[in-house]
């Protein structure tokens, strides 16, 4: 799902009234900038031609009231630009006053994905579906380094910090799919910490919430989010720094353990292995490094995670990761 497939775009889509006003602000500012600079460029070029050494020209100078000139060319541009300071500050303050009826979406940033949770409990990874015509507040935090949730179509961004909640709010008025990014450099896969913001009508959003589970592949789809949020991939994804067995297609296979036994990786095995990985369940040829998740992963998440590992989705996902 690509917001656009063109190789060239020249103006970013604006999906809220604030975004449109920000565009006006920048356009008007550009006009002022041109007013202040074009005369300089023209003058320099003109003088360079007119007063070239050897050209006949009037080079006589009268008295120049330099103090007056200096003060006016400093003060007038400053006062003119102050208009834009005020305008910008006004928009900024509006973007800080969250309306009381805003719908609250939780966002978690971590290396290198976004997890969004809707007020009704559904969650999604990297993609975000939201209704238009309704103020939305995104309350966010980071699990590791500083990230920054950037929604260009709304002309809005905010840092996610590891030690406190931050927030941004907006009221979108145009449906469509737009990009969302992490804009604070956050390490190796910073540039893959992006996704799609889908803005839909309220009715479509309600329907989406109903079907969200199905669209994401049910339990297994949600399990993918769990897999991400507990960072299983840091060790188990192919190419991970720590050596751990690949989980692709593990379900149903025979596994050789360190003590020589051979067991089948059925659902019970997967569960036990996650909760209590080391004891007698260490796989042959691997070191005892996996943390025990007993009392860490709640039961419902564990169900989803196991469903994910059983699904063919896990296999596909794992193999797709280079």
């Amino acid at each position: 799902m690509n917001p656009t497939d063109l190789a060239l775009q020249l103006w970013p889509a604006a999906a809220s009234a604030t975004a449109v006003e920000t565009d006006w602000l920048i356009l008007a500012f550009t006009v002022l900038t041109l007013l202040l600079t074009v005369p300089v460029f023209v003058a320099i070029t003109w003088f360079a031609i007119r007063y070239r050494q050897g050209e006949e020209a009037d080079r006589s100078h009268g008295n120049v009231r330099s103090v007056l000139i200096e003060i006016s060319w400093m003060l007038i541009p400053f006062l003119l630009t102050l208009i834009f300071f005020v305008w910008g500050a006004r928009l900024f303050f509006i973007s800080k006053q969250v309306p009381g009826d805003a719908m609250v979406v939780e966002a978690i940033g971590r290396q290198w994905m976004w997890k969004f949770q809707h007020p009704t409990g559904q969650s999604e990874i990297n993609d975000l579906h939201l209704p238009i015509g309704q103020p939305i507040k995104i309350r966010m935090i980071s699990q590791d380094v500083i990230h920054n949730l950037y929604l260009p179509a709304l002309r809005m961004q905010m840092a996610t910090l590891p030690d406190r909640y931050t927030e941004l709010w907006f009221k979108a008025d145009r449906t469509g799919s737009y990009r969302l990014y992490c804009s604070e450099y956050c390490g190796t896969d910073h540039s893959k910490m992006d996704g799609t913001l889908t803005l839909m009508t309220q009715a479509d959003y309600a329907a989406w919430l109903q079907n969200a589970g199905a669209r994401q592949g049910g339990q297994a789809g949600a399990g993918r989010a769990v897999y991400e949020s507990y960072a299983c991939g840091t060790c188990h994804d192919p190419g991970a720094k720590v050596r751990a067995p690949s989980l692709a297609g593990l379900y149903g296979r025979e596994v050789k353990l360190a003590d020589g036994r051979i067991v089948t990786a059925d659902e019970t095995y997967l569960r036990d292995k996650i909760l209590n990985p080391n004891r007698q369940k260490l796989a042959a040829d691997y070191k005892q490094v996996m943390p025990a998740f007993r009392n860490v992963i709640p039961n419902d998440d564990l169900d989803r995670l196991v469903a994910y590992l059983k699904s063919s989705g896990a296999t596909a996902q794992q193999e797709a990761t280079p």
């Binding site: 060239l8 320099i44 360079a48 500083i146 590891p162």
Partner: protein, 563 residues
Amino acid sequence: MNSGSMTSGTITDGPALRDPHTPDSRLGHGADYLHAEHTLRSWFFTTDHKRIALLYLASITAFFVIGAVTAGLVRLALVVPDGQVFTNDTYNKLFTIHGVVMVWFFLIPSIPATFGNFLIPLMIGARDLAFPKLNLASWYVFMTGAIFTLVSVVLGGVDTGWTFYTPLSTAFSNTWVVPALIGVTIVGFSSILTGLNFVVTIHTMRAPGMTWFRLPIFVWTHYATSLIFLLATPVITVALILLIAERAFHIGVFDPAYGGDPVLFQHLFWFYSHPAVYIMVLPGMGVISEIVPAFAQKKLFGYKFVAYAAIGLASVTFFVWGHHMFVNGQSDLASVAFSVLSFAVAVPSAVKVYNWTATIHKGSLKLDTPMLYAMGYIGLFVLGGLTGLYLATLAINQHVHATYFVVAHFHYIMVGGTVLAFLGGLHFWWPKITGRMYSEAWGRISAFLIFIGFNVTFFPQFILGYLGMPRRYHVYPPEFQFLNILSSAGSTILAVGYIFPMVYLVYSIWFGKRAPANPWDARGLEWTVASPPPAHNFLTEPQAPKIPYDYPIQARETGRQHS
């Protein structure tokens, strides 16, 4: 005092240092500084400010090449949107090296350590800097720091970005962060020593009659820069030491996992790094303020204003660091204050271009290479400065913060400003420094190529940023590809523009025409001595001019009333 103790130049023989014309008994009278001695030792242990300037020139040129090559690789990678050219980690290391080397090893020392070192004593009519040995020491400190950083790059690289934001740099990066930071910290000390040397020199070593308001603007801007070196650098030193302590010994300062505050690092970092912007910009303004009057044969317009502005900007720039953190969880009230203060500093810096324009008005213009660079500088600096205002506008910042808009903005200031001023100055003073003239035709061609190449490279990035392309992105959406290709194509033109001067300038050292003492008919004490200058700078007592910029064409500037 005798002349022997004068060359040793310690502070104890201060009074003798004021005497600029006592010849050194060990050297033939008038031997120029390049030929006074020939041994390697005479270069590596020299205390002559002019030779030290050349040591710096050679080192920062090498760093510039490293920075430029990594930039070229980054642009190469961005030709395709899917990030296939380099792995993610390699790409991250490349832009980190580019930033670290360009900011700390090229831009910050560039004009002060080379032209500042070479010219300040000549311009004020002094024998040397106040502390010649300290000056040499600062070059060694600089090189020591640089070697630490380069070693860490060779051993495995650093991937934190030149901004080293915590807790990525303290707890998450697996690269050679600590040695790189030690290097940057050490280099800071070299800035402090240079700043100290300049301040003391300008205060105590001016020739008789060289009052403050007879000093060239170049000296004024270096004085202001030195104050920033002295007052701001210790802050980044402390910040980096705390970062090292946290990374190496888990002393909690910035990482919330140890009870620290990650945003505190950004405050400390920008408290130095925004004023550092003026470490890069003010010396450039100084260079342009020398070139423009010389090639217009006219007195600099508004001399006193420009001088005061240098000091004013150097002071206010300490109070705007928060404009880097509008969307980083800083309090809203603080953001508004930082926004308006940024306007207050940006407008006066940008309107300096009106002074240069007014200087050209009714002058008698020669469009030689240094002047072409100066004119290019003026154009790019204005764009850089005014887009700084966009960034300082709160609502616009919420959109373009950390996008390619910022990248374009600071390159217009730093490449368009500092680097063009550096190259302009290099061409302006090259005859003085080497005693040789370079090829004027090649000079003009490269000035032109650099201007075109620069704009083709960086203008598209303003648009990319406004479209929402985040900076430091290795893989990017396909709709941004066209502008990225354009930018990369521009960078090849730019590269050619940089390579030419390296060739024809070096060529001129052996084959160039001999330069007269004053090839540009310029004013200023440095043009009253031979090219290259004698080892002792002045063979006779320098005569401070009655007014600065004593050019044939003068507008009589008056105050409020017509006389």
